[in-house]
């Protein structure tokens, strides 16, 4: 399922972000290229930690340190690619 970046994976990540950050918008509100941090989503460092831990628990992919997290959480597209690359 995570061999390639699919629409399914991206939607799953969006749902995960909404849930982990306790946001009250629909997952589809997050565009594939919407910046996750520092943009309209208004996510902070605690949200970033929540997302990274959920990624680790669900996809077994570690995103450690704030520099790596900033890179991986650029957008859903980048996060999905990061997961796929790590699992190859």
């Amino acid at each position: 399922m995570t061999n390639a970046v699919t629409e399914e994976l991206k939607l799953a990540l969006k749902q995960m972000i909404v849930e982990e950050c306790d946001k009250d918008f629909e997952p589809e509100f997050i565009g594939d290229d919407t910046p996750l941090v520092g943009g309209d989503l208004d996510l902070d460092s605690l949200d970033v930690l929540q997302i990274c831990m959920a990624v680790k628990n669900q996809y077994d992919v570690r995103i450690e340190g704030s520099a790596e997290a900033r890179r991986a959480l650029k957008s859903v597209n980048v996060l999905a690619q990061t997961i796929v690359d790590a699992r190859r």
Partner: protein
Amino acid sequence: MPTYIHHVDTHCALGRGLEPCVAGLLAAENPLSEIPFDQLRDPVHMPYFALPLDTTEDDFYQQLESLCANAVKGLSAEQRRRTALLLGSSSFDVQVSEQLYRADLARRGNDQAVPMPIVGYGKLAQRIGDKLGLSLQRHSYSTACTSSANAILYGHRLLEAGLVDHALVLGLERFNHTSVLGFYGLGLISPGRAMRPFAQERDGLLLGEAVGLLLLSRETPAAGKPWLRLCGGAIGTDNHSLTAANTDGQQLAQVVQQALADSQIDAQDLVGVKVHGTASLKNDEAEAAALGTVFGGSTPPAFALKPFLGHTLGACGAVETALTLGCLGRGKMPANPGIAPDPVLKVNLAQSVQPAATGPYLFNCFAFGGNNNALVISLDRKGTAA
């Protein structure tokens, strides 16, 4: 009526008892150990300042009871009934709660086992108070890392109001998975495995377990040893962020200024500062800014204790105060040899142990959730206290 500190004690990674802890601290020992978390799906090893092995068979509760019993052994039954008990902790007996839950999981399985089986922050104080025949003024404080610093402050205020004659203050943090893994999950543990407060290369904190204890009293101490006088303190709130202080340090500066005002002491009269110093990027920046605001570039000699025993969370207020007073009582002021100051922060920690000056010392203690505490304690010449 002044509040005097008659007795202090501590168990921390440096030792079990004030003497070994003070000796280890002044010798700049580094008792860091490593704890494996093999039960995790993805096992990790974590540096930790664990208590030295207990040579007795005593359990969690017995250890606390005997420490407290030792602190009040000089008090008569009547005096004990006039002794408050103030317990500050961020984890109380969660260690035991986790053990019980693990046993329950093995016995009844995932669905039936009850997580967090022990509830009631006040249970420990009730148990110790009953055992030692203390006053019913038994208050437990749960404000994360300031818990036991707040307990000290309200011990002082209870004495000031004359509601009790003595106050036993206890700070407690025992190893537990929730606290240790919780901090790890927040990415706050130092990858370099060393706490270097206010240094350029600071990269986070290390955790430790400890118990700290102080006996406060309205009674004048015996002549022949230095007098330690709790002059006052304050609590302030910085609700900028749940997990980090505002780096402008203004709320921290304000709580220090309020503590000084409460103690009727001018900033320039302070002779030393026990910093909070968590060696995390933002919190040190905030504390440095606060010290700059309060002292205007002429900060008195400062020292940090966490590099020697770790951040002991809710216990750190009582533990670090007890340790500092243990050193001052022996005529020494602690130091942090080898921790070079970040030129941006400009907080120079003392590089070598110096003779302790008499006069007032500042004790900083800050917590998650923006709860901040500052205390002022004075080392007075024998028998010449104000």
